[in-house]
């Protein structure tokens, strides 16, 4: 990975954040901070890690299931950028008649690999895809972006158990470990630590990294084993609302609406944000 590529990934992460602010102003409601914690993860996956093509239906592509479906607003600009649908669709985001809703619909949006919005289902969906891909001897992998709060759901652990049992080495879970749920910090609401130990106990191979450090993300994904019989999990340590100081680690912006000068000022802040 060259520096230039890292610069491109950084620019795309910034693009994800600024577009999120722009689109939510159109919808008048949206999930800022859940996108912002995942911006570098999404940038790395879509612009470096995943094997995808100009055809969103390519059978051997890598899939991404947005188990935390409320981050879809940050993914739509990427899919438009990939040419999967006209960028003009973005300008009508979440308005009546638009294919682009607050949560993603695979039947309406090219490039969305599965519909989501009820938390806790995505890892099982990814496992089913991984099993199907493996059976047809496809090199395709299934990536699943999980929120950390949704790890409270029992189904996640049903899927974790089954994925190890079926040796789904082509299943990669990514935990956006921003530490915050809707009401409070995850550890206050319902403790999920020791998280790495749990995945290890479920017989997954565990990787941890700084989820905003593009170099670490790139290295982590580059070093995933290609022929493992263990499912892989990347615990990406992130900050909810990352990239906008007044949103970072705040529970006030999980769902919100910025407009006019406020939206513009926030976009300016994102552009001038000093990343470590």
């Amino acid at each position: 990975m060259t520096t230039a590529n890292l610069d491109q990934l950084r620019e795309r992460a910034q693009f994800i954040r600024t577009e999120t602010v722009r689109l939510i102003e159109i919808a008048k409601s949206g999930h800022y901070t859940s996108v912002f914690s995942a911006a570098e993860i999404l940038s790395t996956l879509y612009y470096h890690t995943m094997s995808i093509s100009s055809d969103p239906k390519w059978v051997d592509r890598d899939r991404l299931i947005l188990s935390k479906g409320h981050c879809a607003v940050g993914v739509y600009p990427i899919l438009a950028d990939k040419g999967y649908f006209p960028t003009a669709w973005l300008d009508n985001y979440a308005r009546i008649g638009s294919p682009l809703g607050d949560h993603p619909d695979m039947r309406k949006v090219p490039g969305i690999d599965f519909s989501s919005g009820s938390l806790g289902h995505g890892l099982s969906i990814g496992l089913g895809m991984a099993m199907g891909l493996k059976q047809q001897k496809s090199p395709g992998r299934a990536f699943v972006l999980l929120g950390d709060g949704e790890l409270n759901e029992g189904q996640i652990w049903e899927a974790a158990q089954a994925a190890a049992h079926f040796q789904a080495g082509n299943l990669i879970a990514i935990v956006d470990r921003n530490g915050m749920g809707l009401d409070a910090r995850t550890e206050e609401t319902m403790r999920i630590e020791p998280l790495a130990d749990k995945w290890t106990a479920f017989n997954w191979q565990v990787h941890e990294c700084d989820g905003h450090n593009l170099s670490e993300l790139v290295n982590t994904f580059d070093n995933l084993p290609s022929n493992s019989d263990k499912p892989q999990v990347v615990i990406a340590h992130t900050i909810k609302g990352k990239g906008v100081k007044y949103m970072e680690n705040s529970r006030l912006w999980h769902l919100g609406y910025l407009h006019g000068a406020d939206a513009q000022a926030t976009i300016e802040e994102i552009i001038h944000y000093e990343h470590a």
């Binding site: 599965f114 009820s118 806790g120 289902h121 099982s124 969906i125 199907g132 189904q155 089954a162």
Partner: protein, 338 residues
């Protein structure tokens, strides 16, 4: 496994010459195995009950296409969704009650909403599973399955039509719920000497089979209640009342035309189902009749209660699911005709 007992009464056999046949779950299992040979896209996920749902027949012949997901129905259904999204045609099988009740949200979000080609098969439906008791008895499953947009819901009456239904289910692309039962079931579709071959069984999704003509009342039934409807019609005929009998094997989409015609031509309807009288066949028929051709209706089914453990025949009698209950309902509904 205990030996499943028949729900058929001696009087049915004597009156109609209906012979006892295999359970509908057995027929499903056999048909699935047969289809597995020609349709390589079929894969099966089961929840550690393959010897009860009969997906074990498929598992034995196609072990590489069978995944036992253990006792975790939510995960099982979502895995099926993922398999469908990867180009497979998955069957997700378990006891009807656990499949629909435990995994309702997963079915909604991962099967119904994206309209995926997932075939849900729930066995051990209704109260005729007997001694296993009310926790295992699906009496709400039709209400839950028919509540989903994009869903097709099928309740076959006997073993031969279950095989036909299973074939039809795979010819159709989209979400289906197929309901099977545990006990041996009277054979309806091969007893007239002309339908000896299962291939000849009339089965079209969404199209009722009229089994008997009549003009005084129509009995609309599904599942094991179809045999009882025929028995009831026989009894009514001996009393000078000619009842039409419809095997409404598809609850959704309902055969609106057959129901409307029944209302118009016979002026009274009895529905019969091994399910709560709310949310299933009776409700669907009543809704259509109310809109198109209002006539009196009586409902035979489980009436707002859970059942109990017991011998299947005794349970069906205690909870009002017999031919005699249908006869009574028919007489009552005829008396209400204006």
């Amino acid at each position: 496994m205990t030996t499943a007992k028949s729900t058929q009464t001696k009087s049915t056999e004597q009156a109609l010459g209906l012979k006892e046949g295999p359970a509908t779950r057995d027929a499903f299992g056999e048909a699935l195995r047969e289809l597995g040979r020609t349709n390589a896209k079929i894969v099966v996920v089961d929840g550690d009950v393959s010897n009860s749902t009969r997906t074990e027949y498929f598992a034995k012949d196609f072990p590489e296409r069978f995944f036992n997901m253990g006792i975790a129905e939510s995960n099982l259904v979502s895995v099926a969704s993922g398999l469908a999204a990867a180009g497979k045609t998955p069957v997700a099988a378990s006891f009807a009650v656990f499949l629909l009740c435990n995994a309702y949200d997963q079915i909604r979000m991962g099967v119904a909403f994206p309209k995926l080609d997932v075939k849900l098969v729930g066995s051990h439906s209704g109260i005729s599973i007997g001694e296993d008791g009310p926790s295992q008895m699906a009496i709400e499953d039709l209400a839950l399955a028919t509540s989903f947009p994009n869903f097709t819901v099928i309740v076959p009456a006997d073993a031969p039509s279950t095989k036909a239904a299973t074939r039809a289910m795979f010819e159709y692309e989209g979400p289906v719920y197929l309901r099977t039962g545990r006990p041996k079931t009277a054979i309806i579709y091969a007893n007239d000497g002309t339908n000896g071959s299962t291939e000849e069984i009339p089965f079209e999704i969404g199209k009722a089979n009229q089994l008997r003509e009549g003009n005084a009342v129509t009995i609309i039934a599904c599942g094991i209640m179809v045999a009882m409807a025929l028995e009831a019609a026989h009894t009514l005929s001996q009393n000078g009342i000619e009842a039409r009998v419809l095997d409404m094997h598809t609850i959704k989409p309902l055969d609106n035309e057959a129901v409307e015609r029944a209302a118009r031509e016979t002026g009274a309807i009895v529905t019969a189902e091994e399910h709560l009288i709310t949310g299933g066949l009776g409700d669907a028929v009543a809704r259509l009749v109310a809109m198109r051709q209002p006539v009196p209706i009586q409902f035979v089914g489980v009436n707002d209660t859970y059942a109990e453990s017991g011998e299947a025949q005794a349970l069906l009698k205690k909870y009002g699911l017999t031919a005699s209950n249908i006869v009574d309902a028919a007489k009552q509904v005829i008396a209400r005709k204006s």
